[in-house]
Symmetry: C2
Subunit: 215 residues, 2 copies
Amino acid sequence: MSLARVQFFSVSLDGFGTGEGLSLEAPFGHAGDRLHEWMFLTRWWRTLVGEPGGSLGIDDTFLRLHGPGVGAEIMGAGKYGYPGWHEDPDWKGWWGPSPPFHTPVFVLTHHPRPPIEMEGGTTFHFLDASPAEALATAREAAGGQDVRIGGGVRTIRAFLEARLIDHLHIAVVPILLGRGERLWDGMEGLEQDYEIESTTSPSGVTHVMFTRAGI
Amino acid sequence: MSLARVQFFSVSLDGFGTGEGLSLEAPFGHAGDRLHEWMFLTRWWRTLVGEPGGSLGIDDTFLRLHGPGVGAEIMGAGKYGYPGWHEDPDWKGWWGPSPPFHTPVFVLTHHPRPPIEMEGGTTFHFLDASPAEALATAREAAGGQDVRIGGGVRTIRAFLEARLIDHLHIAVVPILLGRGERLWDGMEGLEQDYEIESTTSPSGVTHVMFTRAGI
């Protein structure tokens, strides 16, 4: 069964998945790196950026599922680029020539452009589509594997509102951002459709996993 | 050292400490009992209400610190009664003739009345005072022991804003209330003053503890 899943998406204790004031220089606005520092401490991350060391504990274990079993990603325009990227014909995402996806990636945008083939197996496709349409397209491309809903906040909310998420893994980071984009707004009663399990990490993060009942 | 502490105050995953539509019949509004079901499963609670059984795990362990070491409580008017209780001269709180505090309890209200002595050592005092004034008064009464800031949401926020809380223990319950009173609003950067530790319970609750740096 091909699941639609959100993997280790970080939010602050007060529920913000990104800060205020996003720009090319500040992809997460006033949040800076604080939502993702727990990732930078892991061996998975260090290896990705060519550095030695890093933890091999629970955070690392979760992150190692970024690749295996995932056949495609869907991301919002706000994850793919800074506000206004669609006016830059040369923008190819934040990740350099070899992005860490290694699958087809479907970027939801009202300004589609031709696909961009990157090194390492990542191809960016640009879709002006509803969540359900995008998921059908990505499933087709995923060849029976799972589809990651990669973010940002508004994209995850749109897929939750459309009841399309089978597994939602949120990493709650013990900081209070105070402002930005809230993940949980308008999600009253969401827990009724899911089994929920939480586990804390020595890094301070709490991993909260929603598994759709009956899958 | 006498600490000002918040003990196992429950909030939903989206940060609400109470629901919408509070009344005499619905003390937590549309949240009902859902924020506190984890407590009802413990032996501490069962004993309190005269029932057998109950868990003896981590939730129970936390709850058993409700009494020991605490010499006084401060609560807001919204914890003491339903909206409008101050117009009822016979209102003596939600807890019956023998409330579970067994100490002086200082109720913050703009409508003070004479103290009410209850069974079992609880006396309700009514104060129209700032958080700092109320804490000074409660500390005096606590005889060197800690002062619990009992809630509700607005009272805890007022004490946090006044930087008066030494230890803040929040129980994050994996439900999404969607509406009500938010605990974390306006708390940007709060984590900078505290060491934070989290632990999950098999009940599904995550206990998040803020300890003021340097105490």
